[in-house]
Symmetry: none
Subunit: 205 residues, 4 copies
DNA sequence: TATGAATGAGAGTTCATTCAT
DNA sequence: AATGAATGAACTCTCATTCAT
């Protein structure tokens, strides 16, 4: 019944245009949020007409999803690859540090983007599902990176989750510095200490 | 521009009406989010007219702010009082436990509410500011509770912040259980271990 | 989920407004057809805003249905009542004549309206269903009117249907006079002759 | 304003292309109606580009007109020829029967097409005019077929018109069977009876 | 004071038509 | 000659806010 298919661009000019829409969307959604961005703004920012937007995307939500998939693919995945390429065996301290740096990088460079994604993540089921895959991506990258003789496999999921969570917290704090009385260096040292303590093999947590 | 001042209700009937709007708003915003709730729905749920809503609140955002202030005042503050009333000197393990229970309580009973607040928190600057005060409230309650001979004052802000953050994480996981492979008991034990380790006086973190 | 109910007007001013929308809709739909009429035009013609239109009707199709129900109720039903009130026993000639007059009246006064209804009738299933009831209304009025000792019950449905159809044809021709070479008086006489012949008891058709 | 003239295809390939557009249009317009069919769908179904469509037709309505002219030429005219080729002198019963069969054929095989044409016929003046010619075509074919010693010339136009109308009604009822309680065999017999009665020479109607 | 009908700007989306390639 | 991506005006519908009653 629905004959008005969404165009899948093949030619270079078209791909470029689709990308422009995606990046314009990413920018606006990140800065102003999903509900405060409209399709005319996206079209204008991408330098195309609204009609063109709707020939590449079935609706506004579709632009949103494409924008954040693009972000995660082009930004997060490279970071994770770096993590996986760490020379092994790796010092625990180094691993935790690298992890933290990764999230600081992520937030410092794309704080608004990451935040907007978090905002929608639990608001729209469809978007939550899409994003779940990417969290899994991070978590499994961490599992691989932590795969090391000095780390017990016991309760590994929970340890990885805490590593992920605390690195995330530090990243957020670096980017937004919500809490003026927090010394970021101190916080980092404490997190590293806790995680190193948690991950060490001889402590059976 | 706006000549019609927002009324500050003095009479009992008026206060009751304002409260009904606030609780109706809280309920709807929590269940469906800010952008999917409209003022007619709030008025109807509160049993008043839309006009009345606008005689107590200057706009929709104002209802939102009042709703979440009400929530934090009537729900969070009592929890914090409990924390402050802990008999001292308190065992470190007990303190951390109590803290964690507090957040689990909060999330389990009001998960949608807390989530919606988090969603808007960084989307709307005006709302972010208002909420900051309440986070400070939590943090200072923790400072008081942790005020104890066995805990160094050194880098205390950062320690409190981590206590707050990790308790929050555990609360969220209890309420939503996003990560199916996480054993909540194990996670709780690990968090307690880390925090106890961090807070102990002799470890100079 | 759908809290935005369509308002059911009780006050006189509101009913009047709803009626104005209905009549404006009827007028425009009749003159220009469903697809060539837009909601802004209807609102303007009714002297209200588009928002008001949508507080009385759930969508454009709903206005359409209401408009034509209004037409049929306020125009067709009175005509049918007249038919039913014919003094009995009635001369067959008189009955057929009355029937024909009824349709001529209908078309001459509301030719565009009746035509538009016919156009949509088979195009939109929802509208077709609604209209079916009114055709039944006409047919059963005819059955009652024809209920007469001089008419056999045998194959009555088919006879009534032909009475209805031929009166309809004559009505159309009166209103639009598509066929310039047709003498309406002659046509009427022929139709009357055929129907009288068909309906007479002694001819067993 | 319109500098790009509509091409009149001479080459075989071009004619074929134009025909493909016409038949695709006929198919889609018949199935989904004029307003629910768009030019992209027609182009796709015809295996050409939208641009090509607009080099053969000046606008969407032009495709519509061409489609239905094509239908009437290729489908209706052969039926009429058959009618004209009836061996004479012909029995009145046979003639009426043939006529009825012709319409039943028409509707049963092309009910959606005929219906869609009827729908637009009075909605768009331009289309109404075009169609008038074809109705005249039918009527004059009937005049020729009825040209017979047993039929008075008196009031012939009106008689032909009724023959046409009643055959049409029966055709519609055969194709759609809107009225469940109508026995098609009975209806046909009644119509035949009425028409035979009307057309007979000695009855001076 | 309270009402709730009314407003109308602005949202997302479609599609006949054009024109650079 | 043919393409089909691009256009943008026009569509239907929503909702925060106002104001006559």
């Amino acid at each position: 019944m629905n004959d008005t298919a969404v165009r899948e661009p093949i030619q270079k000019r078209s791909i470029e245009k689709k990308t422009r829409i995606i990046t314009a969307g990413l920018d606006l959604f990140s800065k102003k949020g999903y509900y405060n961005t409209n399709t005319v703004q996206i079209a204008k920012a991408a330098g195309v007409s609204t009609g063109t937007v709707y020939s590449y995307f079935k609706d506004k939500k579709d632009i949103y999803i494409a924008s954040f998939e693009y972000f995660l693919d082009s930004y997060l995945r490279p970071l994770l690859n770096e993590l996986e390429r760490l020379p092994k065996p790796v010092d625990m301290q180094v691993l935790v540090d690298k992890c933290i740096d990764l999230f600081i990088d992520l937030y410092v460079n794309s704080k608004q983007t990451v935040n907007e994604l978090g905002r929608m993540q639990q608001s729209e089921p469809e978007i939550m599902q899409r994003f779940a895959a990417y969290e899994d991506m991070i978590l499994s990258a961490l599992v691989k990176a932590v795969d090391h003789p000095s780390v017990t496999k016991k309760n590994l999921s929970e340890k990885i989750y805490l590593l992920y969570t605390l690195a995330d917290v530090l990243g957020q704090e670096h980017a937004f510095h919500y809490h003026r009385n927090i010394d970021l260096e101190v916080l980092r040292r404490q997190i590293t200490t806790m995680l190193t303590y948690l991950l060490q093999k001889d402590k059976e947590n």
